[in-house]
């Protein structure tokens, strides 16, 4: 099978690591080669977290290049937009959980919150 790259993102504390682990186990259970990597460290302190999973094909590195993920899984709206813009391959799929955890600048009144329409519009571009 040709390699299928997944990029996941969300906010620290939402469970991206667990989601990634479940996807990796599922791929392994299906008999596919799989590797991945999560961001750790400061991640649980409410910062942006990301996880890469690569299924099938020869394993090179778990890190996925920008603009090459077939599937984006995001657990928060702002991060869905950020992830899609940076990592989605042309024709890729964005699947996200539509909740909003406002980034600091939005709470400070220095930036606008991302709306579901913003995400949709970005996908159409």
């Amino acid at each position: 099978m040709k390699r299928f790259d997944i990029y996941m993102s969300g906010v620290g504390g939402q469970g991206i690591g667990l989601l990634s682990e479940a996807v990796i186990r599922a791929a392994d259970h299906a008999g596919l080669s799989v590797c991945g990597v999560d961001t750790h460290g400061l991640a649980q302190r409410g910062g942006m977290v990301e996880s890469f999973v690569r299924i099938g094909g020869e394993v090179t590195t778990p890190l996925v290049r920008k603009g090459s993920a077939s599937l984006i899984l995001a657990l928060e709206r702002t991060e869905a937009l950020r992830a899609g813009e940076a990592y989605a391959a042309s024709g890729g799929v964005l699947l996200y959980f539509d909740t909003l955890w406002q980034p600091l600048d939005v709470r400070l009144g220095k930036a606008d919150a991302v709306s579901a329409e913003d995400v949709e519009e970005a996908c159409r571009r």
Binding site: V11, G12, G13, E21, I24, R25, D28, S33, V34, C35, G36, V37, D38, T39, H40, G41, L42, A43, Q44, R45, G46, G47, M48, V59, T60, T61, P62, L63, V64, R65, K66, G67, S68, T78, E79, L81, R82, E85, A86, Y87, S90, T99, L100, W101, Q102, P103, L104, D105, V106, R107, L108, G109, K110, A111, D112, A113, V114, A122, R125
Partner: protein, 629 residues
């Protein structure tokens, strides 16, 4: 998922998808490593989580979190001198703390062997710099193996320990962040079982062991001889792998994660170079490198961070008179950041653009960044919100390392300079010299206080410095995943005597000490003002347990009911103190200025209630009087 502790003790060979760090834990057990020490620091703490998942009575090793990396190194060294195969692991900058003892290791006869696992952090994902610890290896005469994946981490650890035991010398296993945290299926070998030996084998007959006067030179000679023996052993196909490309006039010499990134980048390329992948990075495997240089017209050295391999390879080519064009770093950018596939594509394209397929540039959205921040309920937030009110605008604040470092971000902007673990009292003391117009306040966390904070405190008392130290005490090593520290009353093996911060300060001769719960903001403001008004060195302990740890523990209780606060919209005057100044991430602001509370985030700690000038914040009705939601 299978039970990690049971998995690590399996005696038959097996394959499992694991983190690089977990693969190391299994390698330690398989290789018979008996003593393991550490101080927690990303990217390595999951090695400890894996080891500690083995129940105490079943552990075929002894593990401890030591006070700091230097002590961890010394404990591992002592254990090795006594015949126990030992391992010490810590993060990149931990080696700076350990250095005084670390650079001596190769002078000794390490009877049991000693592997130092270093977690370097290219990209500074969770460190204050991206230092390249290969430089230390050269200074300390210690050979370095560098894996590029979890499977290699496992294999190289076994090789490193075997080499270390054969030569009775230290060996470095240099990990980097995404090798530690990469997950893949690793094929493990058998483990024949075993337990920690109780035989004491410390013996000075192979000495000298005390490097004074002429002995220091004799010991250095022995160390250098061992290093070259190790270098010869490592100059083998086991650590020097050649991959053929389609254009064999050109070759890349690389190591570690950049090797993996290179494979990824070349995947869609029509013209690919030959690759020499080095697993042994210090000393340079000269035989393998020389052969590669002689068989290629152009060679690119592709290495992360500094030009360590590049300089050695160029020197080798010069010494041996090899006619080959060698390109390494082309500019400062090549020395900065992690060599992800995107970075490697960028770096390689500067030398050989024809080998890097073009990709359409991706849009960079102008989205609000999402920096890490203090958790809902964090005592540090409450403390910073209060302390800011006690300070004058021109006063100077000095940060230290830990969760409280995040206070430098808006809206608190507390902590204006940072060097290293435990630096804040010393740096603050220097800032206070000849400075009558601006008061100096330093911060430190409790784990860091024990790690490297004490000498600065002693110095402040000894030299009668004029500053205020605020100890942000949360009872744990929070940033790295809640490891116990000397003040916690528990170590990695069970209960221990808690060392109280206040008692230590008193013992060190600090006369002015105040203590307060960080949630009592009014009292804290008053105490900080009083302390700062005093001449000399004063300490305020702002204490509150880490609420992330506390809440997680509470959530394991089946009767746990999650609480939260609410904003009374009729009372709220939209002054926005809660969302802009106190800044708990639970507060969300609508476009029209309405403030609401996210029930996904709020833990109902109530530390925000006191911050509202019009008393519009309160616990949700269902949380009052013990009723459940």
């Amino acid at each position: 998922m299978k039970n990690l502790g049971e998995m690590l003790l399996r005696q038959e060979p097996f394959s499992e998808i694991v983190l690089g760090n977990t693969a190391l834990a299994r390698a330690m057990i398989e290789s018979g490593t008996e003593v393991v020490t550490s101080y927690p620091g990303s990217p390595t703490p999951e090695i400890a989580s894996a080891l500690l998942s083995v129940p105490g009575e079943k552990r075929p090793f002894y593990f401890q979190f030591s006070t700091n990396e230097k002590v961890a190194t010394e404990v591992a060294c002592g254990a090795s001198l006594n015949g126990h195969p030992s391992c010490v692991f810590f993060k990149s900058v931990g080696l700076n703390v350990a250095a005084d003892s670390f650079v001596q290791l190769s002078l000794l006869e390490l009877e049991g062997g000693l592997v130092a696992v270093l977690g370097d952090d290219p990209g500074a994902n969770s460190s204050q710099n991206e230092q390249d610890n290969r430089h230390f290896a050269r200074m300390a005469y210690i050979p370095v193996l560098e894996p590029s994946s979890p499977s290699e981490a496992y294999r190289y650890y076994l090789e490193a320990m075997a080499l270390s035991r054969r030569q009775k010398m230290p060996v470095i296993l240099r990990m980097t962040t995404h090798v530690c945290h990469g997950k893949e299926k690793v094929a493990f070998g058998a483990w024949k079982g075993g337990s920690v030996s109780t035989e004491s084998r410390f013996d000075t007959s192979g000495g000298p062991m005390v490097p004074l006067t002429t002995a220091a030179l004799e010991m250095k000679r022995r160390s250098l001889a061992r290093l070259s023996l190790a270098g010869c052993e490592m100059d083998s196909p086991a650590f020097c792998e050649v991959r053929k490309g389609t254009d064999s006039s050109r070759g890349v010499i690389t190591a570690g994660l950049p090797f993996r990134s290179l494979l990824d980048v070349l995947e869609d390329s029509d013209r690919t170079p030959d690759i020499l992948k080095l697993g042994a990075v210090y000393p340079l495997p000269e035989k393998a490198v020389e052969e590669f240089l002689r068989t290629h017209g152009q060679v690119k050295v592709l290495e992360e961070l500094d030009d360590v391999l590049e300089k050695d390879i160029k020197a080798l080519a010069f010494d041996r008179g090899i006619r080959v064009s060698i390109t390494g770093k082309t500019d400062d950018d090549d020395r900065i950041g992690e060599y992800t596939p995107d970075k490697v594509a960028e770096v390689l394209a500067k030398t050989w653009p024809d080998m890097v397929p073009l990709r359409g540039a991706k849009r960079q959205p102008s989205l609000a960044p999402r920096p890490p921040q203090m958790c809902p309920g964090c005592g540090h937030r409450s403390a910073f919100h209060a302390i800011r009110q006690a300070l004058a605008k021109e006063d100077i604040t000095v940060a230290d390392i830990g969760c409280h470092t995040l206070g430098f971000l808006p809206p608190y902007e507390m902590g204006e300079v940072l060097l290293s673990m435990g630096h804040s009292t010393g740096t603050g003391a220097g800032l206070s010299l000849f400075n009558r117009s601006r008061k100096v306040v330093s911060f430190i966390g409790d784990s860091t206080f024990f790690h490297a904070g004490l000498p600065g405190v002693v110095n402040a008392v000894f030299n009668n410095h004029n500053l205020t130290l605020i100890v942000m005490e949360n009872g744990t090593t929070a940033m790295t995943g809640h490891q116990d520290h000397p003040g916690a009353g528990r170590n990695a093996n069970g209960p221990s005597e808690a060392i109280p911060v206040r008692g230590v300060l008193e013992g060190l001769g600090v006369k002015s000490i105040r203590e307060v719960d960080a949630y009592s903001q009014g009292k804290l403001i008053e105490m900080v003002k009083e302390a700062m008004a005093e001449e000399g060195f004063s300490v305020v302990i702002a204490r509150h347990p880490c609420m992330l740890k506390y809440t997680r523990e509470q959530q394991r209780n089946p009767d746990y009911v999650r609480k939260s606060v609410d904003v009374n919209q009729e009372t709220c005057d939209r002054l926005h103190v809660c969302v802009e100044s106190f800044g708990c991430p639970s507060f969300q602001r609508d476009e029209d200025g309405t403030v609401t509370v996210s029930r996904e985030l709020c833990i109902g700690d109530g530390s925000c209630i006191q911050t509202c000038p019009v008393k519009a914040i309160g616990l949700r009705k269902e949380n009052r009087g013990g009723e459940t939601a």
